[in-house]
């Protein structure tokens, strides 16, 4: 595991919350999705928008042949949409929904004695 950088206490990241923290020159979004912490760069590869500074982590729509392409709600509380252009990302995987060929990096997150660290 890469070097860890402490970004706060676990209680500062309750389930369903997200915060953007600064580590050195990096801005990193830390998300607690259903009890699991995820960390993503606060940088949308589209036009460098502040990706993680969203008001809310939401779900999104999907559509499947098995359901005759009806529009369904999916990935509830796992999706962010960049505040600049609305480009959507799946927080747990970093996968971009709008550009399927793009995934953003995820930082490893660890919790040690109540302290949350991101690693890079």
């Amino acid at each position: 595991m890469n070097e860890g950088h402490v970004v706060g206490r676990l209680e500062e990241f309750p389930e369903g919350s997200h915060r953007v923290v600064t580590v050195g020159r990096r801005r990193i979004g830390v998300f607690n999705v259903k009890g699991t912490l995820h960390a993503l760069p606060n940088l949308c590869p589209h036009q460098t928008g502040p990706l993680c500074e969203v008001k809310k982590v939401t779900g999104t729509t999907q559509s499947r042949v098995e359901n005759d392409w009806a529009i369904e709600w999916a990935f509830d509380k796992e999706i962010i949409a960049c505040p600049w252009h609305g480009i959507e990302y799946h927080v747990p995987t970093g996968r971009c929904l709008t550009f399927p060929e793009i995934s953003i990096r995820s930082y490893e997150v660890s919790v040690d004695d109540g302290e949350v660290s991101v690693h890079f």
């Binding site: 589209h46 999104t60 729509t61 999907q62 559509s63 042949v65 392409w69 529009i71 252009h85 609305g86 480009i87 959507e88 929904l97 709008t98 550009f99 399927p100």
Partner: protein, 368 residues
Amino acid sequence: MDANHARLGEHLIVDASVHVQEGPLDLLPYCDEAWRPALQSIADNAKTAGIGAELWPPGLPGEATTATPEELKASVTERGVDLAVLCPTSLQKLSMVAHAEFASAVARAYNAWLTETWLRPEQGLLGCVVASAHAPADSAAQIEKYASHPGVVGVYLPGAAVDPLWGHRKYDPILRAAESAGLPVLLNSVEVMHPVFPFNTHGFDTSLARFTTSDPFSMMVNLIDMITTGVPARFPDLRVGVLGAGVTWMPFLSLRLDKVYLEKRREVPFLAERPSQYLKGYFYGSFPLEDAPNPDDFVTMVDLFEGENAMVFASGWPQDGYDSAEQILALPFSDEAKAKIVGGNALRLFNIDERGHRLSLSREAASR
């Protein structure tokens, strides 16, 4: 013979849009009995014709340019064309017809007349059956009826004034039948304005204004509708062609759709890619060839939507201002691009070989 005309012989030339000229009396013997009086009435007394006047306005039709398949073959050969795909003239306006049963009856009559009278696949005269938007189940049955005809290489969707647009799910039976038959759908428009279609253009005074806008607007709105209602998801193997609208609007449409898609993807989760990626997989007839004062500019416009693999030569013959393959060969495309645009791309669109044989039928025959 100039250099470009001499070069026609070096290339396989497929003309994706040659218009036959169906008059009411041509279709009458092929039409359901109930609608023959309407066709006769148009022919006898066009000034007061009611039903069908959208298709054959008073004073028309004039004389057909060619009377027989042999004459037509001679005419296309003279223009250097090896394979010609026939499409309608009057029925381009089929979607404007108010009476649904009449419209379907005329489409059935046209399909019977076309296949019996004009299609000569062994001579390179191929054609598209017309699907009436009025009765999708009936149109699907027509596609199934002609699915194995060796001369039928596509399904023609009249786009002018169609309401709702061709992406509506009510038309799914037509698209499904085309996809199952291995036939592409060919969207086409014509110089028609309509109070709600596409946008206040019915007020135009001139043909200049109408022809500039009607065809590309119609094709753009129909394509947008098909993409945003999920036709590519529902019919992943359906091939789509667009005729009669030129191609220079494609860079605009691709960029604009992709731009808006970024923010609106949630509305269309059935799309796995950006809209432009689907548009690039469709085919676009060259007529009317929008040759720019600087020919390099036109080539750049085509490059912007990867049109080298998507553009198909379509003459629009015998419409006013029809184009020739020589005009495309004279443009500063690469030799490879020219060969694809004047012939190769059309083989993929229609899924035929260089002799005009339908590949899906030869596979079927081979598997029997």
